[in-house]
C-alpha cells in the first residue's frame, strides 16, 4: 500500500492514539517523500515515512533502532491498517550520523498527533538539502530529481545544499556530480564559498 497525504495523516493519528493509550510519548523527525506529503509539496504516493532522528528532551538522537515500544506500536498500526511493516522507518539515519544541516531542528515544523506523537517535519530548505544529496546519488532520471523540482529551489538554495552535501561525501567525483546537478537546475556550477 502506498500513502497519499490523507492515509499517511490517518496512520500517524492512529499511531499517536495508540502511543497515548499506552502512556507513551515519542517525537520523531521526518524527511523525504512522506515528509513532503505532510508539507503539501508532493502529491505522488509514497511507500513510507523516513525518520532521520528522534527528539528526546529537545535533543536530536539516532532513530536506529526504533525504541521497542515505538516499533511495537508501529507494527500494531500496520496490522490494523494493512500497511507494510516498515511504513515508518529509520532508513535515513545515516544522514543524522554524518550531520544534519546547521539549524535543522529549529527550522522543522511541528505536527502533534494527540498526546502520544509529535512529528517534526523537515523544513523546505532542509528538504532541498536532502533531495539535492539524493538526486546526486540517484541520477537525472530518478524520483528524487522530480521531488527536488517540486520544491522549486533557488540557485542560492541549491548551492547551499551542495556545500552541505559534500560534507557527506568528500570525493572529487561526488563534487563533480554536484556541479552537474547545479547545472541541470540552471544554477552556477561553482558552489564554493
Amino acid at each position: 500500500m502506498a500513502f497519499d497525504a490523507d492515509t499517511l495523516d490517518e496512520a500517524l493519528a492512529t499511531l499517536g492514539e495508540v502511543l497515548d493509550s499506552r502512556q507513551l510519548h515519542f517525537e520523531v523527525v521526518a524527511i523525504g517523500g512522506g515528509a513532503l506529503l505532510l508539507l503539501g509539496v508532493l502529491e505522488r504516493p509514497t511507500k513510507d515515512l523516513d525518520i532521520v532522528a528522534l527528539l528526546n528532551g529537545g535533543e536530536l538522537a539516532t532513530s536506529e533502532p526504533f525504541p521497542e515500544a515505538l516499533a511495537v506500536a508501529c507494527a500494531d498500526v500496520a496490522r490494523a491498517m494493512g500497511l507494510p511493516p516498515g511504513w515508518m522507518n529509520a532508513g535515513p539515519t545515516a544522514l543524522f550520523e554524518f550531520g544534519l544541516p546547521v539549524g535543522f531542528a529549529a527550522r522543522a515544523g511541528r505536527r502533534n498527533y494527540g498526546a502520544g506523537l509529535v512529528v517534526h517535519v523537515a523544513s523546505r530548505i532542509d528538504q532541498i538539502h536532502f533531495k539535492f544529496y539524493a538526486t546526486v546519488d540517484d541520477g537525472p532520471h530518478g524520483k528524487h530529481i522530480q521531488d527536488l523540482r517540486k520544491l522549486a529551489p533557488t540557485p542560492g538554495e541549491l548551492r547551499v545544499a551542495a556545500r552541505w552535501a559534500v560534507t557527506h561525501d568528500t570525493s572529487a567525483a561526488f563534487r563533480d556530480l554536484c556541479r552537474e546537478v547545479l547545472t541541470a537546475f540552471g544554477a552556477e556550477a561553482n558552489f564554493d564559498d
Binding site: T14, E17, D76
Partner: protein, 310 residues
C-alpha cells in the same frame, strides 16, 4: 441490552450448565455428553464474579461441600494466568472453603491476602448434590474417586479422549495444568504399573493408555464432546475483557486492538480447537465471531469446535 451483558450472559448460562452437570443446584444443564473440567470452571466462575450472585454462591456452596474432589495443586497452577481481580476472588473463595471445611486451598496473592478484608459473608446452602458420580460429564470426578485427586486422574482422562494421539509429559502438562516434572514422575510409575505404554519419539517419550477399552468398561459412560476447557475458558475471559475494553475506545483504537488481539490470541483459539477465520480475517469479525461462539457453547452446540461437524 448492553454490550457487557450481551457478551457475559451466554457465559453465565454456560457456567450454570457446566456447574449443574457437576451437581450444583440448577435447572439448565445442557452439557450431559460433554467432558466438564472442574478447576478451570472454578477459575472461570471467579472471573464472572458478581455477574450472577446466585451462581457465585451456589458454586461456592459446591466447593465447600466437594472440595476434596478438587486438586488444590492444579487450581493453584491454573490460577497463575488469571487477572488480579479474579485472583482476589479466588483468594476469597479459598478463605470461605477453609472456613467451612477442612480443606485448605492456597489461592490468591498471599501478600494481598494478608491485608485483605475478611471473606464475603457466606452461608452454605447445602443445595448441591453429588449422590452419584456416574454420567459422561462427571468423568473427571469419577476418575478422581478411582485414582485419587492428582496427576494420575488427569493423565488417564486426557489419554482417554478418542482423538488423543500419544502425548509426552510436556504435552500432558499443557493439557492438564500439572507441572511437567510431576507428570513425568507419575507417568514413569504408571508405565511400570502397565497403565500406560511409552514409545520414544526423538528426544521424548510419548504415552498412551495401555488398555483403553478396559478403562472405558471400568468408567462407564464417557463424554462424546471433549472441550479443552483448560484453554477454552481462559480464552473466553480474555476475549470478553478485550471486547469490553474496546467499547471505550475510538474506532481507530478498536481496530488496532482487535487486530493485535486476533494475532496474539489466535494460537489460543487453535489450542481451544475453535473454528475461526485464519490470520487477519479474524480481526475483522472478532466481536461477531465471539458472540456466536459464546452463544453456541451456552446451548451446547459442539459445531463451534474444529473437530466436530459444522
Amino acid at each position: 441490552m448492553t454490550t457487557k451483558s450481551r457478551l457475559r450472559e451466554p457465559l453465565i448460562e454456560l457456567g450454570w450448565s457446566l456447574w449443574t452437570e457437576l451437581g450444583l443446584s440448577g435447572w439448565g444443564h445442557k452439557h450431559a455428553a460433554w467432558f466438564v473440567d472442574p478447576e478451570p470452571l472454578i477459575i472461570f466462575t471467579a472471573w464472572l464474579g458478581d455477574g450472577d450472585a446466585r451462581l457465585r454462591d451456589e458454586s461456592t456452596d459446591w466447593c465447600v461441600q466437594f472440595a476434596p474432589l478438587i486438586s488444590a495443586t492444579r487450581l493453584a497452577n491454573l490460577e497463575v494466568a488469571s487477572d488480579g481481580e479474579t485472583r482476589e476472588r479466588l483468594g476469597d473463595l479459598a478463605a470461605i472453603v477453609s472456613l467451612h471445611s477442612s480443606v485448605r486451598w492456597s489461592l490468591g496473592d498471599i501478600t494481598s491476602a494478608e491485608a485483605r478484608r475478611p471473606p464475603r459473608h457466606f452461608l452454605p446452602t447445602g443445595r448441591s448434590r453429588l449422590e452419584t458420580l456416574s454420567g459422561a460429564s462427571r468423568l473427571s470426578l469419577r476418575l478422581r474417586a478411582v485414582l485419587g485427586v492428582g496427576a494420575r486422574a488427569e493423565i488417564v482422562r486426557t489419554l482417554l479422549e478418542p482423538s488423543s494421539s500419544p502425548l509426552s509429559a510436556a504435552d500432558l502438562a499443557e493439557e492438564t495444568g500439572f507441572k511437567k516434572r510431576y507428570l513425568a514422575s507419575a507417568l514413569e510409575m504408571m508405565q511400570k504399573g502397565g497403565v500406560v505404554d511409552g514409545e520414544r519419539a526423538r528426544k521424548e517419550i510419548k504415552f498412551r493408555l495401555a488398555r483403553t477399552n478396559a478403562w472405558r468398561d471400568l468408567l462407564g459412560e464417557t463424554p462424546t464432546i471433549w472441550p479443552r476447557w483448560i484453554h477454552l475458558l481462559p480464552l473466553l475471559t480474555k476475549v470478553v475483557d478485550l471486547l469490553e475494553r474496546c467499547e471505550r475506545l475510538s474506532p481507530r483504537m478498536q481496530s488496532v486492538e482487535l487486530h493485535r488481539a486476533a494475532e496474539t490470541l489466535f494460537p489460543a483459539v487453535k489450542k481451544a480447537r475453535l473454528r475461526a477465520p485464519a490470520g487477519g480475517a479474524l480481526a475483522e469479525v472478532f466481536p461477531a465471531w465471539f458472540e456466536n461462539v459464546a452463544f453456541e457453547l451456552a446451548r451446547a452446540n459442539a459445531a463451534v469446535f474444529e473437530n466436530e461437524p459444522a
